[in-house]
Symmetry: C2
Subunit: 143 residues, 2 copies
DNA sequence: TATATTTAAGAATAAAGAGTCTTAATTCTT
DNA sequence: AAGAATTAAGACTCTTTATTCTTAAATATA
């Protein structure tokens, strides 16, 4: 459902929120190390997050990225939209080309419920909430 | 979430149920024509459905496929499992490697709800129900 | 100013998924 | 028995996604 790039981007955003938030600049290299992933791959996805207005970036020594908004104002759906787009929430589960609310396939309404619930969860869950929950539950923010 | 192959396979199974069910043998070529899709691609996926025990196949003139079970006994989840596998239902939404019920990530429980609801829907919805609904609602079985 | 550090951009490569084709095996019909 | 129809199997190509790398641009610091 989420691409590898999108999952990694969300994990990265969680880490950035935890480690620096809106204040401290974190080098992408550090993020890649913490996530135990490819710097190259991560850096490319981070560029999309910058273009989408979710991160500010700074070049040069002491450079890196930080949140462009308050953690409570960045929702999971924003990251999904920036990386994968919202096609998942807009197309028929079975690929019927003409399926719509007015001309539904046989599982359209059942699926619409589930999809709406997922969309709701993604648009209500903020980075702030995630990070606070993880800290509260003594869960490693990244693992 | 579902691959193109899986969506098409479900549509094909719906059509086969509608057109022949357990009784009548339908050539894959006819299915491809009705679905307005590639015979080659469909045929390859149909092979998986045969191997998974969802379809019987018959070679030669008058050959084709028919359901290997009663339409009420074939659930969407069976098709998903045959084509895509169940990985979606078994792995962390964010790709945290060690995420589990015992060691959950911050959205594990929220997501587990949604995923369970989807699984439930997929394992409760049978081909019989889908086809009957479409016929009842005067929806083209394939469109 | 020179150097080192870091992101930006895009090229290059690898892997996976999608889609096509060819040949073999089977089986109905004549 | 021969020919035609149909699935089975696997090779092949194309597209997309994932991943790596190279070069350019920006900037802090000595």
């Amino acid at each position: 459902m989420l691409s590898a790039a999108c999952k990694e981007s969300i994990r990265a955003m969680i880490y950035i929120t935890h480690a620096g938030g809106e204040r401290k600049i974190i080098p992408v290299k550090d993020v890649a190390e913490k996530l135990d992933t490819s710097f190259y791959f991560l850096a490319k996805n981070v560029q999309k997050l910058v273009k989408a207005g979710l991160l500010f970036s700074y070049k040069g020594p002491k450079g890196g990225v930080k949140l462009a908004k308050k953690p409570e104002d960045i929702k999971l759906i924003d990251i999904v939209q920036a990386i994968d787009g919202l096609e998942f929430f807009e197309t028929c589960l079975l690929g019927f080309k003409e399926c719509s609310d007015e001309h539904p396939c046989a599982i359209h309404h059942k699926w619409a419920d589930k999809r709406r619930a997922i969309y709701k969860m993604f648009s209500e869950t903020s980075l702030k909430e995630i990070v606070e929950d993880m800290e509260k539950l003594c869960i490693d923010v990244i693992f």
